[in-house]
């Protein structure tokens, strides 16, 4: 039997389907093969996994208590790490010497090359703590090996109260990155349920849900979020605030997912292979789980990945405005709130740029990752 020779599809990553393995490759294997061709997305995946790992192990990685203040080191600049001292290998930073700039009447810090502060891995923690809230630990990933008075280790600088920005950003990752995940999880439940109802039943339910989604999307998000978030009583415990904020943030996120699910339901429902399954005597539930869900699973994963960054950004924006999460909770948005004063930023740019870099890197990687996943979501496009 002659095989129909088709022209290769144009552009984009396509699959070479001549290999024998491809013939027996299932959906997820094709998905992975196609995703792998997207190098940027692959790198982003590694970056994202790394960031979530850092967030999970924040207590271990952050060398200091993020709320520990030190009035001596107000707005201390980042200290650079040198690997050698006096010609021998000894990682260290230089002690900061404070001087008073008589012209600007500001305190300035100058590293003192004669006073190295030696830095090491797996040092003893200032206080014992519980890793992931479970495992009792006494070791930090890195820190000052033998702390003396006057020693400091601010690799990303210090804030107004002399708190370590690095430790704060690492701890902030816990909240900011998890809000994305929890929010997406809420969106998933809302989106799949409502979108599924809309697509599966059609008719009036579909029309009403579609109109409602259109309505939600036509309202500018920031004022809506602001209005809802501002109603959260100030006295609420942090955990409750956290969940309500997450809920508010996912209020919009689910709509795109619901649309995606509905669209897939509608188009798949009339596909011949779904009709064939129905004629084979498969029940509607069976069809949903055996045919429909596998068909749009990959699309949902891609959409979800693309929804995480918008939630991270939303939390950041609300906290930044002072109506989201409040100190003492640490999130990237809360950190940026302290950078609102442009004069403070001018004096200590690291207040702004350290959390900003964390946000941009995580959002950028998630976007690239989502893009790669979406491209790979339908590995059969280039096949048929």
């Amino acid at each position: 039997m002659t095989d129909i020779t088709n022209l290769p599809p144009e552009g984009g990553p396509s699959l070479d389907l001549t290999g024998k393995d491809i013939a027996v490759a299932g959906q997820w294997r094709l998905f992975w093969l196609k995703f792998k061709k997207h190098k940027v997305a692959l790198v982003s995946l590694v970056v994202i996994l790394f960031m979530y790992l850092v967030a999970a192990l924040a207590d271990f990685i952050a060398p200091f208590d993020p709320n520990a203040t030190n009035a001596r080191f107000t707005y201390a600049p980042p200290q650079s790490l040198s690997l050698f001292h006096d010609g021998s290998f000894q990682p260290n930073v230089k002690q900061l010497k404070m001087t008073l700039n008589t012209q600007s009447m500001r305190r300035e810090f100058v590293p003192d090359p004669t006073k190295p502060v030696s830095v090491g891995f797996f040092v003893k923690a200032p206080q014992p703590y519980y890793l992931l809230g479970l495992i009792p630990m006494q070791t930090k990933l890195f820190g000052i090996t033998n702390p003396q008075v006057g020693d400091s280790l601010y690799i990303f600088g210090a804030d107004r109260l002399g708190r370590d920005i690095f430790s704060r950003v690492v701890h902030g990752a816990k909240i900011s990155l998890s809000i994305g995940l929890v929010g997406v999880f809420m969106s998933l439940i809302l989106g799949v349920t409502i979108g599924g109802i809309s697509g599966f039943f059609g008719g009036w339910a579909d029309l009403a849900i579609q109109r409602f989604i259109e309505l939600l999307r036509s309202i500018p998000t920031i004022p809506l979020w602001m209005g809802l978030a501002a109603a959260i009583p100030v006295g609420w415990p942090p955990l409750r605030t956290y969940f309500v904020i997450t809920l508010i943030v996912s209020l919009i996120g689910w709509t795109s997912l619901a649309r995606e699910v509905r669209g897939k339901f509608l188009s798949l429902r009339s596909e011949d292979f779904v009709i064939a399954a129905r004629l084979d005597g498969m029940s509607e539930i069976g069809i949903i789980f055996s045919h429909l869900v596998p068909s749009f699973m990959s699309h949902i994963i891609a959409t979800l990945t693309l929804a995480i960054p918008s939630m991270i950004l939303a939390e950041t924006a609300l906290s930044f405005l002072g109506i989201g999460l409040q100190p003492p909770i640490i999130s990237w948005g809360v950190l940026l709130q302290e950078a609102q004063n442009i004069r403070a930023v001018a004096q200590a740019p690291w207040l702004l740029f350290t959390p900003a870099a964390a946000i941009v890197i995580s959002v950028l990687s998630l976007n690239f990752l989502g893009d790669g996943l979406r491209d790979a979501a339908d590995p059969y496009e280039s096949v048929s």
Binding site: T2, L7, A23, V24, Q27, D280, G281, M282, P294
Partner: protein, 574 residues
């Protein structure tokens, strides 16, 4: 430019050793690999081949409009103008001025899909007049007059209003006329038609072929006609070029290609077409199916109206006897597919009865049957789908696809595996391929998988909806032969739905002709084909291109006009 005295006076276009390649990741795909031909004034050259033969790329190479990343790698395309000057089009810069002055002015082209080949947001008048503006700078007012004249030439009704309409307001046939008007705007010497009738119904196809012929005669154009349909070739060609995988297999006058083919591939191609011109041999020798008292399926006054108000199935009555094949033939929009789907209750018809006789002799009305009994009946009445891609879930392997109905019927474990292997052998697939996914199979193989799934639960009746129309002609008869041999082995009955009279004639015992939701004629296939009673059937049959250049028919066809009730208008142009 140079004068070329060696070329014959009549030759307008001389293509020699044309090579068009597509670089791919894995190497070079030679879409056109050393093709040569000549195109003569006032004559029609048909380039014929199956999908992937490179015929379309050949046509596009002439005007250098091959899609990226395709490139002309060698050969020449010599265009001789009326003043005797000769230009090699293959040497021109594809984005340059010289080739642009040839496109649309000296050589015009029409395409397969008139809908997507025309812009949906521009009025047709603008799109037709554009070539005039580009090549002659014709002012707006004159442009409009010329466009009206062109619309009249291509016989579009009411040109004054049509000129300001958009493509989606026209039917497929009318859109193709718009395309032709556009091509004719600058009075080209050569018209390249790339499968211009493939997307159309046979009766519309016949109209368009007529029109092209007429315009060719009045304009004295040379026509390069690309098609996969040997019937069309026989009807219109003066000369034929047979292509296969980028290479010319045979070239010659149409008479020679059909009646004295020299090449093996040509012979096979003609053979598979001619084979479908008559009843299958296995059916000629078989005794006629007796008309029993109680038919297997007895459909009475079935009607389905869609919410849009469209009467898709309108008072349809038909019977299927056990062991026979009933053909349902009709053009697109005739309601044949909807009717087929009503039989299995994929759609719910609003009135009528579908009486199906169970193996125990009892009958059940499928139109009103409850879920449980419908589920049982759907094991006895199965379906084969048209689209070999869409009807198999890409996410399941072949073993799982074929096993699905078995498992749902309660079969488990080793039995399933054995049965799947047996079924795969039965339809001509290697059971070792069960782990493979549909994407690893060709169209014909996929359709075999679909057949295996249909016969898995030992059905009695199979509804086959356009089961062979997505396949190349050489595969078509193989698939029909397979279906007939299964019919004899398993004692099956078929309802065979198709738009293609030749496959109906090849395998069906009886045929019902559908037109606008109604069945206009039913009878034994021989009877209907040779002595059609209804005018629509006559029109349909006479519009079918006949693969014999000695017996050209479609220009003398019978036309059916439903507004003129009793008899049609006999036309004798062309």
């Amino acid at each position: 430019m140079s004068m070329n005295p060696n070329m014959s006076q009549d030759t307008i276009l001389k293509v020699e050793g044309l090579k068009t390649y597509f670089p791919t990741r894995t190497g070079i795909f030679k879409a056109v690999d050393g093709v040569s031909f000549e195109l003569k004034r006032g004559k029609t050259l048909c380039v014929v081949g199956e999908s992937g033969s490179g015929k379309s790329v050949t046509a596009r190479s002439i005007l250098q409009i091959v899609d990226k990343p395709g490139r002309i790698e060698g050969g020449s395309v010599l265009l001789t103008r009326a003043d005797g000057s000769v230009t090699d089009l293959a040497k021109l810069d594809p984005r340059g001025k010289d080739i642009r002055s040839v496109r649309g002015k000296e050589i015009a082209m029409i395409f397969q899909e008139p809908m997507s080949s025309l812009s949906p947001v521009h009025r047709i008048g603008t799109q037709i007049g554009e070539a005039l503006r580009i090549h002659f700078g014709t002012p707006k007012k004159e442009q409009r007059e010329r466009v009206l004249e062109l619309l009249r030439q291509v016989e579009i009704p009411r040109p004054e209003t049509a000129i300001d309409r958009y493509t989606f307001e026209f039917s497929g046939g009318m859109r193709q006329r718009v395309m032709i008007a556009m091509a004719l705007a600058c009075n080209p010497q050569v018209l390249i038609a790339d499968e211009p009738t493939t997307a159309l119904d046979v009766t519309t196809q016949a109209e368009i072929l007529d029109l092209i012929k007429k315009l060719q005669q009045s304009h004295g154009m040379a026509v390069l006609f690309i098609t996969h349909d040997m019937g069309v070739v026989a009807e219109i060609a003066d000369e034929v070029l047979v292509m296969y995988r980028g290479k010319v297999m045979e070239r010659g006058p149409v008479e020679q290609i059909f009646h004295a083919p020299e090449d093996d591939y040509t012979r096979r191609l003609i053979g598979s077409v001619v084979k479908l011109e008559k009843k299958a041999e296995v059916r000629l020798t078989r005794a006629a199916i007796p008309a029993e008292a109680a038919p297997l399926l007895d459909v009475k006054n079935l009607s389905l109206t869609f919410p849009s108000g469209l009467k898709a199935v309108d008072d349809v009555s038909l019977t299927v006897r056990s062991g026979e094949t009933l053909g349902i033939v009709g053009e697109s929009g005739s309601g044949k597919t909807t009717m087929g789907r009503c039989l299995l209750r994929i759609y719910d018809p609003q009135s009528g009865a579908i009486a199906y006789r169970r193996p125990d002799g009892s009958t059940i009305d499928l139109r009103t049957a409850d879920r449980a009994s419908l589920k049982d009946v759907r094991r006895e009445v199965r379906m084969i789908f048209q689209d070999p891609v869409g009807s198999l879930s890409p996410r399941k392997n072949v073993g799982q696809i074929i096993a699905e109905p078995l498992k749902l019927a309660g079969m488990r474990g080793k039995d399933v595996e054995d049965r799947v292997a047996e079924l795969m052998r039965q339809v001509g697939l290697d059971p070792g391929w069960r782990e493979r996914y549909p994407h690893a199979f060709s169209g014909g193989q996929r359709q075999r998988i679909g057949i295996a799934r249909a016969i898995a639960v030992k059905p009695r009746l199979i509804i086959a909806d356009e089961a062979t129309s997505a396949l190349d002609v050489s595969l078509r008869s193989q698939m029909l032969d397979l279906m007939m041999s299964l019919q004899d082995q398993l004692g099956l009955s078929y309802v065979f739905i198709s738009h293609d009279m030749s496959v109906i004639r090849y395998m069906c015992d009886r045929v019902a002709v559908m037109y606008r939701g109604r069945i206009v004629e039913t009878g034994d296939t021989d009877q209907v084909v040779n002595h059609p009673q209804h005018d629509y059937t006559r029109a349909l049959l006479s519009a079918i291109p006949h693969p014999d250049p000695r017996d050209r028919r479609i220009h003398k066809r019978f036309r059916y006009d439903p507004t003129v009730k009793p008899t049609g208008i006999v036309s004798a142009n062309g």
